[in-house]
């Protein structure tokens, strides 16, 4: 399956989606000019991946900022993972947040409340 590697910029996040090496990551800032066109290939990738996923999928999310349009897209990604989880495969979201940023911590907890997949919340020092 195609590997997605997107380099982080000041308004779009870095993304790695690599099925073969079992590496799934998204990090950085997300406030794209056109949120739908930036994330469309990523959402499509997850839809294709969901048809034949690995036995265990761990998505590392380490955002420093995301706008509300991006927060909706993040939920779409988690919903795609939820579909995989519901087929009995192992799925985990590792939500990294700066130890002193309660709002980023709470954002992770709210996603966990909305989605039926396991989350691990990991504080880090900037």
């Amino acid at each position: 399956m195609e590997v997605i590697k997107i380099i982080e910029t000041d308004d779009t996040p870095g993304v790695i989606l690599d099925k073969e090496n079992n590496n799934f990551e998204i990090w950085g800032r997300s406030l794209p000019e056109d949120v739908n066109s930036f994330f469309e290939p990523i959402i499509s990738w997850f839809e294709e991946y969901a048809e034949n996923p690995n036995d265990k999928t761990v998505l590392n999310v380490k955002m420093s900022y995301f706008n509300t349009a991006s927060s909706k897209i993040l939920l779409d990604i988690f919903v795609a993972l939820e579909d995989i989880f519901e087929t009995g495969k192992d799925v985990l979201v590792k939500w990294f947040y700066p130890a002193d940023e309660d709002d980023m911590k709470e954002a992770g907890e709210e996603y966990e409340e909305m989605i039926e997949i396991p989350f691990e919340h990991i504080a880090y020092n900037k």
Partner: protein, 195 residues
Amino acid sequence: MEFKINTVQGFLNHVYRFYKSQKNFEINILYEGKITHQITKAFISLTEADLEDKEEPDEVRRKIFHVMVESLQNITKHAGPDGETGETEKGRGIFVVSKEENCYRVITGSITSAENADKLSKMLQKINALDAAGLKEMYKQQIRGGGKLSEKGGAGLGFIDIARKTENPLDFSIQEIGEDGNVFFIIAIKINNNK
């Protein structure tokens, strides 16, 4: 803050008079014109640098950053009167960041149709009437797609989130401009910085 103005010019005069009359009021940014993504990014980095110089706490800086992103992107995506004649006015607006004694204020104003203004003011009133738990519930409904507002990327979510993060009501004002059903819509968001 009260707004008694009729036009963009009136707004700018108002801001200037207010500025002159207040000791503890300073304007960080005052802009009128087309708001593009590049301008949004420029304003954000200017303000970030300024807040760093002023040694504002991280939490306050993050809130102002977020309110600026959401407010400016709202104008880029949604501002403008109805109809083809209004094409040149699309994405235009005024944008002000001011500092008062215990708060910052991010103010946006733009022309929109009376119909849109009506929808927007109903939504803002609804948001302002809710407590933290109510806002959280509304946010969850909106993000799940229960209330999809536009394909441009849900404006509703932005205001709910701003209300949650600033914990202040969203002040707004509608001014008639006497142009075929269009009005000038102003939203002023207060971000506390008293610790």
